[in-house]
Symmetry: C2
Subunit: 223 residues, 2 copies
DNA sequence: TAGATTGTTAATCGATTAACAATC
DNA sequence: TAGATTGTTAATCGATTAACAATC
């Protein structure tokens, strides 16, 4: 039996890929897009590694978790690898996203161009401030949080961004779960309790600065 | 020789603490502050672990990298541990921070309350748009990027937040290095090249959504 | 073909967990 | 004292790196 056919498989053979690998995948994608922008058609594990501060072995191993995308002697074709990584990440399609909370951060994120460029579009915004309900920000309609389930269902929204005050975050999260949301990107500085079936990514802006402060204070040359 | 005196040391005995440990340190701090807010005076490794989804052993091990903060049979005194963790992170003092770029994100971050609560204050903002120079946003003066080195020196600023478009980010980063900045929190979706002596933390908002999409697509129950 | 670079295996390194004596 | 919980050591687990045959 010759099973060597179709070796260039893209089957995500799963069996749990390490989380660290997935986060590097996004970095590879970003670097590849940059390389294409700069006019490159191919790259290789050494170049990608150098750009990101990884070893070449790690780049190859990371990508090999998901299939065979390279060409021995040549490297990787940028566009081809971009398409493959997007497919793995699930961003080969467009994702409608709900924005919850229209304070400073929520409004800024609504206007942020980077989401759309990677396949995400804010499809609806939600708040509880009567002044804001029914208005449009950046062409996006603002609904009352009470209408969450209805709008989410109508627009096929599966992801939500939480940009509400810390005190409101868990309550909002409960509503999101109730509305059938499958993934939450949380900017509130609290640990959200969610059922296992709902995915969660947390970004705490103050914590990022704390990490930076630690790094500066503990620089080899810095008391 | 009895060297058991002063065992409750806070000496960060260094020898390189794993990066993952430091990032969890910030989460412990956040949880501890929450616990105090909720009226607790003591906690323990099991409680902290449960709140954050870590094992109790990991909590103890992480903290033990930096000294002995707990009391066998009792656990940890919240306020005491908060003070210790802040000292380790370097946030027992206040850090003046420069904000570079006053687009949507920069302005939102300028207004974000969470920074101040953890010991960071935006001491100056910088842009290149003549319309903005000299104005004040949230009581913070806006300078031209050309005045970076001067203002940074005058105000003792060591950390900077980069919230400029991707295309401008590396140029801005070079200016920051030139101005003597020691740590950069970068929101631009590019890998900044910085000398080793300058610390770097990157937050790519689109990447966070990508990670969420991957998690949702690869949920045990989700094709 | 010779040179380059992959995918993958084995070796190394580091991080997490389990277990328990020490201690309050 | 008995019960609880730490700090730490040893065991396990997982991730990174090095090396190289396979391949274009």
């Amino acid at each position: 039996m010759d099973e060597s056919k179709d070796k260039r498989s893209q089957s995500s053979n799963d069996s749990t890929v390490p989380r660290a690998v997935v986060s590097r995948l996004s970095l590879y994608l970003r670097e590849l897009q940059q390389l294409v922008h700069d006019g490159n058609t191919t790259t290789n594990s050494t170049q990608l590694g150098t750009l990101l501060g990884f070893t070449d072995a790690q780049v190859r191993k990371d990508l090999a978790y998901f299939g065979q995308f390279g060409y021995p002697g040549i490297g990787y074709r940028c566009e081809e690898l971009i398409a493959a990584v997007k497919k793995i990440l699930g961003t080969d399609r467009s994702w409608p996203v709900a924005m919850i909370g229209l304070g400073n951060l929520g409004r800024a994120l609504l206007r942020y161009r980077g989401f759309h460029q990677q396949g995400f579009q804010i499809a609806a915004a939600f708040d509880v401030d009567a002044e804001k309900i029914g208005s449009h920000v950046e062409g996006i309609e603002v609904f009352h949080l009470d209408d969450l389930a209805e709008v989410v269902a109508a627009k096929g929204i599966r992801l939500a961004i939480v940009a509400v005050p810390a005190l409101a975050a868990q309550t909002v999260a409960d509503s999101l779960v109730e509305a059938g949301i499958e993934g939450v990107l949380n900017f509130a500085p609290v640990t959200l309790v969610l059922p296992d079936r709902v995915s969660r990514v947390g970004v705490d802006l103050a914590i990022e600065l704390e990490q930076l402060a630690f790094a500066v204070v503990n620089q080899p040359e810095n008391p």
